[in-house]
Subunit: 119 residues, 2 copies
Amino acid sequence: MSKSLIELTPVETVACCSPLTKEPLSHDQAERIAPLVKALADPVRLRLLSIVASHADGEACVCDLNDAFDLSQPTISHHLKVLHEVGLLDREKRGVWVYYRLNAGALRDFGALLGGVVG
Amino acid sequence: MSKSLIELTPVETVACCSPLTKEPLSHDQAERIAPLVKALADPVRLRLLSIVASHADGEACVCDLNDAFDLSQPTISHHLKVLHEVGLLDREKRGVWVYYRLNAGALRDFGALLGGVVG
DNA sequence: TGATTACATCGATAATTGTCTATGTCCGAT
DNA sequence: ATCGGACATAGACAATTATCGATGTAATCA
């Protein structure tokens, strides 16, 4: 049995929609997709995502990420939370450290939605 | 001779960058890409873009767009301006009407940046 | 010329958000 | 049991933004 709509993260919602250019988005579709786009609409979060994605083993711990920015630790934590909540980053705690990993399918679906490329 | 960097719209800047997942974005790259993502990070603008893109002849006049929303005309005008300024929508005035048209390449480059699909 | 229609701009306001400091929580080590 | 380090949460504040009504501008028509 599939998840109910209410449980879907924004990225999962995106995966089911036609490319933007094929037909007009409904009000509800737009309302569900926008949070995902918003999550990426910040230079710090764009960098965070790209750093995590291109990191060795495909994951990075928060300590590495903190060092890459001139921002406080809570600020980075906040941005990671935003990316995690929309489903773009997965998190896993191992010991004292927390590792973030890209949800590659999510990003790909997102790109397909915008560019009209069918996976 | 190509345009200098300073004249490029955000979408044109995007077109030259590696996919997000290949290597970390620099601070400056992220700062230039973010405004483009921000332009799409609103449900009204997502719908505006999809309506224009899927409209007959690939263009729509503002009067059509106003009718599609329960928002004031200045508000729609504002959102169209945002999309135009980042290069996602082209505009052309014909008589009394203003027509907006999708910059398809811009959206495709954007999708490729996110999804890692090479054009 | 004057009126009307289509769209943009201006100025104000309420809501959102990025950032900080301070504090809390969980885990491993001594 | 206690301490210290890694990360999250809470609360506050400043900056951004989505929206509106009022007004400006440009083109058509009578």
